[in-house]
Symmetry: C2
């Protein structure tokens, strides 16, 4: 549940913006005074005006999730000004592709085993349990369940640009 | 490479902001006139001033990646005002956990097979190749390579709140 800040002290947003916190303050419920950094982060990255506009655009029951996702993006952008939370998406994408390939290859080994067709070393030289190459036919199906814009990296859907950039950045 | 917009026409940012595009325009190299929506999106979500500040904070060779990641976040937020690209992170996190468990279980089956310890149906009832429960000991190691803030969803590291929210949102 969202924190309630209808107390004597102004919400973190009104305190940050040095204004009186009115009972109908759109920020108060989601930016309690005990979490000042949460508003400071979203204000730095998105701006108070944009956050207010966005909260007014979504349904009241969705505002807490909207604020939490904005706070998450803002914190990630402050920690990594170049990639923000898109860096996490790139790494997770690459991890999903790698795991799917390993799973496909391991399942293929297991099926061959049930037919007693292979020795302890697989045909492509992998040792049992190491995983390896395989089709990722189920990957696109499993990624199709949410909105996903085209990759931010030119010709680099797996985020190698992020890895290179991070190396420069870290 | 970043597009060069040192031409007769102003960059997409200066055109949007109705101002003269000077040779030293910080936006020109990354917001070419032929991509007006790219700047319109980041302006709507982050604000031109915040984008300009961020570009001045990062190294010149990192600015193109920074602009691309901002444009990616902005597009995702416009398409999904409640979760933005954090929704993609939640889905990818859940997918990584599921795939790691399936891979661990399939590797365990394969190792048991090499010892001829199990029939075609595994001890926990899964049919060969279906995957199932297993430890995810390698998950934390593989997720440790990039900055990753705590989950935006209270007690919901796998993004179930996102799934519920999406159902309400769609």
């Amino acid at each position: 549940m969202a924190s309630s800040s209808y107390s004597n002290s102004p919400c973190a947003a009104c305190k940050f913006l040095r204004r009186k916190c009115m009972p109908d303050c759109i920020f108060a419920q989601y930016f309690p005074p005990e979490e000042p950094q949460k508003f400071a982060n979203v204000h730095k990255i998105f701006g108070a005006s944009n956050v207010s506009k966005l909260l007014n655009e979504v349904q009241p029951h969705q505002r807490e999730d909207a604020v939490n996702s904005l706070a998450y993006e803002a914190e990630a952008r402050i920690k990594d000004p170049v990639y923000g939370c898109v860096g996490a998406i790139s790494v997770l994408q690459r991890q999903v592709i790698r795991l799917q390939k390993e799973l496909d290859a391991t399942n293929a080994d297991l099926i061959r085993y049930t037919c007693n067709e292979i020795p302890n070393n697989t045909e492509d030289g992998r040792r049992i349990g190491e995983g390896g190459e395989g089709s990722s036919s189920s990957l696109n199906q499993s990624l199709s369940g949410f909105y996903y814009p085209s990759s931010p990296w030119n010709n680099d859907p797996c985020g190698d640009a992020y890895q290179r950039g991070s190396n420069n950045n870290m």
